[in-house]
């Protein structure tokens, strides 16, 4: 998939608003999903994960939703802050127990 740098889908939100970042995955046999955040000049940072036996999982200001029927994953960030500006990746563990990264989305938070 495409990732960090040029031609990334970009989501621009106002500070304080909620953000929703979406990801479609391809393998219906995938059973574990992860969201990563990557700030400029840093490595990807684990945010939250979810197993396929769950539909929703909440962390601090973040919620991950999993819709297995349509193979869709979303990350919701509540009360988005300037520090949330980054590229966000989803990743799935496939049947071969290897991690596959989806395309990233750049989140830009406007003050």
């Amino acid at each position: 998939g495409e990732s960090v740098g040029l031609h990334l889908p970009t989501l621009s939100v106002q500070e304080g608003d909620n953000s929703i970042i979406n990801c479609a995955y391809s393998n219906s046999a995938s059973d574990y999903f992860i969201w990563y955040k990557q700030e400029s000049g840093k490595g990807p940072q684990f945010i939250i994960d979810i197993r396929s036996n769950m539909d929703k999982r909440q962390g601090q200001r973040v919620t991950v939703l999993l819709n297995k029927t349509v193979k869709h994953l979303s990350l919701q960030i509540a009360a988005t802050q300037p520090g949330d500006s980054a590229v966000y990746f989803c990743a799935e563990y496939n049947a071969g127990n290897m991690l596959t990264f989806g395309g990233g989305t750049r989140l830009m938070v406007k003050p």
């Binding site: 490595g43 684990f46 990264f101």
Partner: protein, 111 residues
């Protein structure tokens, strides 16, 4: 917190040089990985290791080798650096089939 440390943030090497990228993790993780990250191409797996002295090829192993003599350390070797190996290199570790934890990357420039 898991800490994955890559020895250099920036490296500049000449074509034909032998280059060593070092990575150390402090959480006794079994699994370690090397990725490269390029704009528009995303994260691509070079090599990984499930145990000491074990190594497996990833998606793009050509031009690279690895060494894992100790559980906490995983080295990536460019036998003869070429300009197309200019990239951001990311090391990661994990326990079992769980989320990867990444270092902050080494930006390598080959001139």
């Amino acid at each position: 917190d898991v800490k994955v440390t890559q020895s250099s943030r920036y490296l500049v090497k000449r074509t034909g040089e032998k280059v060593f990228l070092e990575c150390v993790q402090d959480m006794d993780h079994e699994n370690m990985f090397w990725y490269r990250q390029d704009p528009g191409l995303g994260l691509r797996l070079i090599y990984f290791s499930y145990d000491v002295k074990m190594k497996e090829k990833g998606d793009i192993p050509e031009g690279y080798s690895v060494s894992r003599e100790k559980k906490e350390r995983f080295s990536l070797i460019l036998e003869s650096a070429s300009t197309n190996q200019t990239s951001m290199y990311l090391c990661a570790s994990s326990f079992g089939g769980r989320a990867l934890h990444f270092g902050n990357g080494t930006r390598l420039t080959v001139t």
